[in-house]
Amino acid sequence: MGIRIKNVNKSFGKHLVLDDVSLEIKDGGFVSFLAPTGAGKTTLLRIIAGLERPDKGQGKVFYDDVDVTDIPVRERNIAMVYQDFINYPSMTVYENIASPLKVSKNKMSEKEIDKKVREIAELLSLSDLFKHYPSETSGGQQQRIAIARALVKDTKYIFLDEPLANLDYKLREELRGQLKETFSYNRKGLIIYATADPLDALILSSHVGFLHQGKILQYDILDKIYNYPQYIEVASYFSNPTMNFLGANLVKENDDYFLKITDELKVKIDSKFKNKLDKREYLLGIRAQAINPNRQTKNDVIIKGIIELVEVVGSDTEIHFKYNDFRLLSLSKKIGSFKIGNLVELFIDPSQFYVFDKDTRRLVYRMVGEK
């Protein structure tokens, strides 16, 4: 049981936003649609929810194998949370949370409604705010009220469209942890979450679908898509911060094969992978976390770079540096003291390289191999 979409196309004017998208999502998960702005994730979510229709005759949406393509959204048993915090300004927090139950067709008694509202409010830490109006609460609280209204209905499907995007970073950090906790609570249906933030996808999801130019490039369980991104586009975007890419040539020295980036930086190819490599040039990807100012493993290769920029992100430091002609990114733990223009010694863990085909842009293999 779950949601299935089949050959969905959607255009706005001449612009094709979704290009023949098919996907089957099984119940019981938390699915993220991850993509940069403009890739079609919100449109896909809205089509699944019934807020948009696929282009005429171009695609179907099924809930539990029932074709719902032409069923209006209010007749579907779903809840939706938007980027903007939408609550009723003239109702108290309590009334806001209770409102979906009061208008529901399945009439509940006041007592049942009260029990349900309190249960959900407790889960989202809103119990102390019952008598307040939404305008008297913070942005994070307003979004939690909107989420409470979605949860209280006990619908099988809940859709969230970038609910954290409009919050500043401390609130986002707090609410993300709370969402994870909230949605692990007693749920049998399915949650679909559209986001442009790779961290949201990493922290919250059981499955991730990555969209690129109106197509789903990869859909997998979280562990698989993060550790084995099948395309350069997926690897680059679904890394936090973005992945480094370096061109490398396949060379033979004595009896061993290497992927050579520079004279000092070459990666030995395990014989079991040799047969996968039949081209001369490849693109090697490595996450910023695997390039570090401190030694990580005994096999680390040391390179020297010139610091071009230092960014502080949360409790980490991103060092942008130039190595030969490559502009690379290293992520180091804690907030360091690095000066622009200085030479820095960095350690690269060669087992963390991903080998990509430059032409097809597909993953050939990952050095460390299947776990």
Binding site: P36, G38, L309, E311, G314, S315
Partner: protein, 368 residues
Amino acid sequence: MASIEFKNVSHSFEIAEGKDKLEWAVKDMNIVWEDGTANALLGPSGCGKTTMLNIISGLLTPSKGKVYIDGKDVTELSTRERHISQVFQFPVIYDSMNVYNNLSFPLVNMNFPKSKIKEKVMKIAEILGLVDYLDAPSSKLNSAEKQKVSLGRGIVRDDTVGILLDEPLTVIDPKLRGELRRQLKMIQSELKITAIYVTHDQHEALTFADKVAIVKDGQLVQIGSPYDLYYNPASPFVGYFIGSPGMNILDAKLNGSTLSLNGFKIELSKDITDKMEIKNSECQLGIRPEEIITSKERTTETISIKVAIIENMGSYKILTLIKKNGSNRDLSIKTRIDIDMSVSKGDIVYLKFPEKYLKIFKDNHKIY
């Protein structure tokens, strides 16, 4: 460029309204922004940072105190006379002009010779990465490029003493924001502009500035490098605000050398107790999630606590740990662990707080 200074600057909007009881938007601030440095004012919305900016630029005259530029009192001077340039949230450019004319506009107004104008505009365009767009109508630029033109119009003049950037990334397309954030920093470090960047975003402030002033409720809470703010927060607020997740701030009670927390005790060494003037008091213990040692093995000096939430951050995990404590408030602690350490919700883990990373606060101030 020049240095900018506040001496005992206070401002209340209610003086003008003639109210008796005053609320201070800015309270008795003393701060120097040195010539050629990158600075930030960081704080939550409503903290007074925009009022500070308006006092620097001359849009507001402070109720009390003085503003100096290179040691000269400018408190009574108008915005025009101060030569401070400002970049706002929304790019301010002339849409009807091309990029070249936008950049040259301030110089044309000052009657610069044409050849000199060209030389200066070309130099600025090169630094801003706008050389290829000089002939383009400004309306065709994307939001990040427009914002760079706004900045360029300020730095093209030699008599500009400083640049104020007021949340300059807010309306920039998210896809372009990261790139512009990096470019602003590079431009500042190349040109050695005296710059003050106002934001509520930790990432932007700590990336841009060598010196960050944290502002809360109209007061300076702390001024320091990103490194200082991270390692030596002067108050629980700074500890929590800088870093992600923020510093754990735990209620505690100090009795001689014993620090009692909700459900466990820490013995402090003489090194620490000697440095503290206060010996017996309610206080708060601060420790960063990444400094706590989390283990699955019990040893002496560890506390046991239950895993409530696990957040996988890709290269590490953040645990939210909760210890129920009878009728008292639950103890909630966040820690950062290696990605390879396997834990499940409901597991018991053991924590050790290395002494060298402990901070102790009382009444919102650091006492150790």
